[in-house]
């Protein structure tokens, strides 16, 4: 098990290496070069030359690449061209918000999706089945930002149940420790701050959860239906086990394999979904920041974001592979 984890973590190295190459080429190949990207159309030739010198663009390409990699290893992602602060600092402040949001969304998607998909399969052809299959189709079709606006209009602007934007009420003056606001509140025993942060998470995480929820419902339903027809379920029934034992031990556990795979794939996609959700709810995570950076052509920020997505993807799928070995002994890792 330990060796497997180490091996998978080592796989990060070639992944990141390939990615660094792509990013490097991308930056060099920007229309008009990085200096135009930074200066826009208005730069004078002198300013361009100054930037080229500052960024070391006049040196041989290999030297440039070497320096690029060295900076990445030191987690120096450069300075944001729009906020003039180090990209790493910006990310440390904002990334926890996005993590909180995606984890909450994933908990909703899994916590609701698996039971719903299971019930739909058990009540195949009846109302709940049709409702959840139809509902999940709608869930997949509705764009996240649209759902976000609808939720906001209904539950915060009309009903005033939930706050419409932000991560926490700033008037609470909550203490910051890790920048995970919920966690901070729990650690400093500022319960109202934690509750408020959680409250702010509800609507955005529901919006973000909609697509993964819909997919998990469908995959769970299909998978349970398939397992119900397996011979070993009949064997379990023939043993006279209670319906509950048959379901829990024999049906659900086997049905979880495809669901685990899809969760791994969905978790990565959530980060991109967060860009839209955070923008709609003015939620100061990395997503809203990146959305702005796209508009500003803030390349250092974009580059950092791409790197983070890649690392998260690899780590999440490592977790999924590990979860396999708990679910299915046939793929148990050595």
């Amino acid at each position: 098990m330990f060796r497997f984890i180490v091996r998978r973590l080592l796989q990060l190295i070639p992944t990141l290496f390939g990615l660094s190459l792509l990013l490097f080429i991308w930056l060099r190949r920007l229309p008009g070069g990085p200096e135009t990207a930074i200066l826009g159309e208005r730069g004078t030739p002198e300013m361009r030359a100054a930037i080229r010198r500052n960024m070391g663009l006049d040196e041989p390409i290999l030297v440039q690449y070497g320096r690029f990699v060295r900076r990445m290893i030191k987690l120096d992602l450069g300075t944001s061209t729009s906020t003039k602060r180090a990209v790493t600092t910006e990310f440390i402040e904002r990334f926890p918000g996005t993590v909180e949001l995606t984890i909450t969304a994933m908990i909703i998607a899994i916590g609701v999706g698996i039971p719903l998909g299971y019930l739909a399969a058990r009540r195949r052809g009846r109302f709940l089945d049709h409702a959840s299959v139809g509902g999940s189709l709608i869930g997949i079709c509705i764009p996240v930002f649209f759902l976000g606006y609808v939720l906001k209009a209904i539950f915060s602007e009309n009903l005033h149940w939930f706050p419409s934007s932000g991560r926490q009420d700033p008037t609470l003056g909550a203490t910051r420790v890790t920048n995970f606001f919920v966690l901070d509140g729990l650690m400093t025993r500022e319960w109202d701050a934690a509750a408020d942060a959680l409250w702010h998470l509800v609507l955005p995480s529901i919006a973000l959860a909609s697509i993964p929820l819909a997919i998990i419902v469908r995959i769970t339903r299909a998978s349970v239906l398939e397992v119900l027809n397996e011979d070993f379920v009949r064997t379990a029934e023939a043993k006279g086990l209670t319906e509950q034992t048959v379901r829990r031990r024999h049906v659900l556990r086997n049905a979880m394999l495809p669901v685990a795979t899809s969760i791994g794939l969905l978790a990565g996609g959530l980060l991109s979904g967060a860009v839209l959700t955070e923008t709609v709810f003015a939620f100061s995570g990395i997503g809203a920041f990146v959305a702005e950076a796209i508009g500003q052509r803030d390349y250092p920020v974009l580059m950092g974001f791409i790197l983070i997505i890649a690392v998260v993807y690899v780590l999440v799928n490592l977790l999924v592979d590990l979860s396999y070995s708990f679910i299915d002994p046939r793929v148990r890792v050595r």
Partner: protein, 337 residues
């Protein structure tokens, strides 16, 4: 009184807009305590559906109708509610299935799959259950049972898996064991071992065994009474010896004739039954075997043939049975066992 008395059992699958399929059509037979009874027939004759109907294991679907009676020790199994049925299954009546790999849960260790029966019906838990499970594995001839308990189905060989399934089935010393083609998925040497094991368990524990098979070799080796099924009906019932010596129903004759024999002369061809069991009847009623029957006469196609009870205790469902004395010599036991 018989331990299990199946009376006029019928199973119909009706689909909207389609002709209803009578998978089992008025099957009656009985199993005495400690007796080994065979249900024999080719694929699609309704033998598996019969056993699943008795166990209440037919997949629940709209259009499924089960009629008749299956009286086990005084209670009609078909009238029981789901809960009482679960109490009987695994405790009084246990079942062994055809494909041992797919019949075992791939993600749960063998041990738990054995102990869950013990927990459910005998209230055993923890250490006691594990000990009993090891003893059961040992009893069905699995070496090193303690280690095997921790293993998963994919780590066992085919024969071991079937032994494990048998261990689960006999865990509560059921009074009736239903074995649905228990050797079909195994290779020949393992088949013989599994049959030997079943014979031994039946002999030692006094469990009655309902053996469902298409393999007349299996029947010849261990069965006391044989019921031959065709097209969802019992076409002939007899003790083993008379059946092999003098089959009366033309289908039984055909079955026996299509068994390859080691003592057959060189170049002698097998005599398969022409046609297939799925051949539809061109007439609404009558003998289901008539389209393939060599002894067909006009009476075969009118009314469904009545079950004829012959004076020697055997019965057959044929208007033009094979005359006595039979044409097919009875195989000696040691050849076929």
């Amino acid at each position: 009184m018989a331990l299990l008395e199946v009376e006029d059992l019928s199973v119909t699958f009706a689909r909207r807009g389609q002709r209803a399929v009578h998978a089992v059509d008025g099957v009656s037979f009985s199993v005495d305590a400690g007796e080994v009874v065979g249900l024999v027939g080719e694929s699609g004759c309704g033998k598996s559906v019969t056993s699943l109907a008795i166990m209440g294991l037919l997949p629940k679907q709209p259009g499924l109708r089960v009629g008749g009676k299956a009286v086990f020790d005084g209670t009609d199994l078909l009238q029981l509610d789901d809960r009482s049925r679960r109490d009987i299954r695994g405790r009084d009546i246990a079942m062994i299935f055809q494909d041992p790999l797919s019949s075992l849960n791939p993600v749960i260790p063998i041990g738990l799959q054995v102990t869950e029966v013990l927990t459910r019906h005998r209230g055993m838990k923890g250490e006691a259950a594990a000990k009993e499970a090891a003893a059961l594995l040992d009893r069905v001839g699995i070496p090193d049972p303690k280690r095997r308990l921790k293993e998963y189905p994919h780590q066992l060989s085919g024969g071991m898996r079937q032994r494990a399934l048998i261990a689960m089935a006999v865990a509560c010393q059921p009074r009736l064991l239903i074995a649905d083609e228990p050797t079909t998925a195994l290779d020949v040497t393992i088949q013989a071992q599994i049959l030997e094991l079943l014979k031994e368990l039946v002999r030692d524990s006094g469990t009655a065994l309902l053996m469902i098979t298409h393999d007349l070799g299996v029947v010849a080796g261990m069965v006391d009474t044989v019921n031959v099924l065709y097209g969802g009906r019992v076409v002939e019932t007899a003790r083993r010896r008379p059946l092999f010596r003098q089959p009366r129903h033309p289908y039984t004759v055909g079955l026996l004739g299509s068994v390859p024999r080691l003592d057959a002369g060189r170049g002698e061809k097998l005599n398969p039954i022409p046609g297939s069991v799925r051949d539809l009847l061109p007439w609404p009623d009558g003998c289901a075997f008539a389209p393939r029957c060599a002894r067909r006469i006009d009476e075969c196609v009118g009314e469904p043939p009545e079950l004829v009870h012959a004076h020697d205790g055997r019965s057959y469902r044929c208007v033009n049975p094979e005359p006595l004395p039979g044409m097919v010599p009875a195989p000696r036991e040691e050849e076929t066992a």
